[in-house]
């Protein structure tokens, strides 16, 4: 059967053609492609790895930022509380200081008022006594214009002295 016996000419040309083809492609063709396929696969692998790392880092960063935020919130609350405390303290201090001061002022005022009152009393008393003496002297002068009444007074005074003793 001619189909099953290899023809020499075709074997020869097949050998030559394939050898040349293989040589050409081995030298200038396939290595570029194969290396590119390999390096691209590496690149993709690396890219995936990088993306995973980046995601992990992002997650970590998010966690960290949340932690920072929580801490900051705590600090803020602390600070607010502290401020509140200081505020009330200052107010209290101011109030008590004011009270003390006020009391002092009041006391001083009271004292001065008392002083004034006393002085006024004294003055008033002096004036009243002067008035009284004036009036009395006038009255006495009027009453004692006649000798009878003079003696009567002397008598009465003497009676008084007697009864007092």
């Amino acid at each position: 059967m001619e189909l099953f016996t290899p023809d020499f000419g075709l074997v020869f040309w097949m050998f030559v053609a394939f050898a040349v083809l293989l040589f050409v492609l081995y030298k200038w063709g396939w290595p570029v492609i194969v290396k590119t396929i390999d390096s691209r696969a590496d690149l993709i692998d690396k890219g995936v790895e990088y993306a995973q790392n980046a995601k992990e880092q992002l997650d970590k960063a998010r966690e960290q930022s949340e932690a920072y935020l929580a801490e900051a919130r705590n600090q803020q609350a602390d600070m607010l509380r502290e401020a509140e405390r200081i505020k009330t303290k200052i107010i209290d201090d101011a109030r008590s200081a004011a009270q003390v001061e006020a009391r002092k002022v009041m006391d001083a005022a009271k004292q001065s008022i008392e002083q004034e009152r006393k002085e006024a009393q004294q003055q008033f008393r002096n004036e009243v006594s002067n008035f009284a003496l004036d009036i009395a002297s006038k009255v006495v002068r009027n009453q004692l214009q006649n000798p009878e009444s003079q003696s009567k007074l002397v008598n009465s005074l003497l009676d008084e002295m007697e009864t007092n003793n």
Binding site: F8, L10, V11, L22, L25, V32, V34
Partner: protein, 372 residues
């Protein structure tokens, strides 16, 4: 759209069922010769000195005939010896041996004394030219893809280049890399060349007109040479461990000492592997071509039995041969893939380093990214 296509197909089939039998019967009458299916089949499956053109049985594209016979080298165009013509070159004459003569279908030298001598024939025949065309296509393919890579680096190629690149990646990543591992850079050029050459030859063979139609991969000479290259790649680059496994395999002593039974089987195995490669590709492609030709020839065989039978046969044959051609497209790819895969496997046998405990490690390392 589908309706239109079906109606178009129907019209085609009906017109064929009328026209082809008419042509066939007319042709038979005009030629007035007995139809010989066997000759036609073998003519289409075999090699030829010219390349036929469609719709004409006499005009052929002439190809150079190169002979080393008595009187040195002889070069002439195949048209000089076509159709039983005799070519005279000085005192020597040449003709294609007719049917029934020795060296049937080959160019032979007629000596001055009338005896016939078979010269050393390295003509550029139809198959050789088809092979060259396919080789150029392979070179163009590789050049196109590597040019893209040089220009665009990691950008994914588009259109035709993208398709070719997908094929390359399919073979390289799917077959070569997992089997050969670190050694793949060394053997990938050979295996990828084999794959693309076989694929292009197969697909060109399915095209009916020039530059297709040559049954190259269905020719045992071609598959034999391809298998020899695999054989050489396996055995020349074979490791010490590979040869030890062949000559002194790891079996009980009685199997190899007084009578080297196992080594003999192993050595036999070295040669059966490329033989299997040869025959598998050859038989598959030859079978595909043969079925399509036989289905087409049925029309002409039944042409003698009247128009009704011929019409029915035509519809049946055409539909079946279209179906077979579509299957052959699939087979073309599968056979190229299988040849490459088996070559890779055989080469990897020659690359075994004997450190068996390394392999699972590599495998697990390779499997890890996949499971991720």
């Amino acid at each position: 759209m589908i309706k239109k296509l079906t109606s178009l197909l129907l019209i085609l089939i009906v017109s064929m069922s009328v026209a082809v039998p008419a042509y066939a019967s007319e042709h038979q009458q005009s030629d007035n010769k007995e139809l010989s299916p066997k000759d036609i089949i073998f003519e289409h499956l075999g090699d030829a000195y010219g390349w036929e053109v469609p719709f004409n049985h006499h005009v052929r594209i002439p190809l150079p005939v190169i002979l080393f016979g008595k009187g040195g080298m002889h070069c002439f165009l195949s048209s000089r010896v076509q159709d039983g013509k005799v070519y005279h070159d000085g005192e020597y004459s040449f003709k294609i041996a007719a049917k029934g003569e020795p060296h049937q279908g080959k160019v032979v030298q007629i000596m001055p004394d009338g005896s016939i001598y078979k010269p050393f024939d390295i003509s550029i025949t139809k198959n050789v030219l088809a092979l060259f065309i396919a080789a150029l296509l392979v070179i163009w393919t590789v050049a196109a893809v590597s040019k893209w890579y040089k220009r665009h680096e990691y950008k994914a190629p588009r259109k035709v280049v993208g398709m070719l690149e997908a094929l390359m990646e399919f073979i390289y990543k799917g077959v070569i890399r997992p089997t050969l591992g670190d050694k793949s850079l060394k053997f990938a050029p050979f295996l990828l060349t084999v794959f693309f050459l076989i694929l292009y030859l197969n697909l060109l063979g399915l095209m009916v007109v020039f530059p297709g139609g040559a049954n190259v991969t269905g020719n045992i000479a071609v598959t034999l040479v391809l298998a020899i290259f695999t054989f050489l790649a396996t055995n020349i680059f074979g490791t010490k461990h590979y040869w030890k496994e062949i000559l002194w395999p790891d079996v009980p002593l009685w199997l190899k000492f007084p009578l080297p039974i196992m080594p003999m089987i192993e050595i036999f195995g070295i040669f059966t592997k490329p033989a299997a490669l040869t025959v598998r590709l050859f038989a598959n492609m030859l079978g595909g071509h043969m079925i399509v030709i036989v289905l087409t020839l049925l029309i002409f065989i039944f042409a003698a039995m009247g128009p009704a039978v011929t019409g029915a046969t035509t519809v049946f044959s055409v539909l079946f041969s279209i179906f077979m051609l579509l299957i052959d497209v699939l087979v073309s790819f599968i056979q190229a893939y299988v040849f490459t895969m088996l070559s890779t496997l055989f080469i990897s046998f020659g690359q075994e380093s004997g450190h068996e405990h390394h392999e699972p490690k590599q495998e697990s390392a390779a499997a890890q990214p996949a499971t991720k």
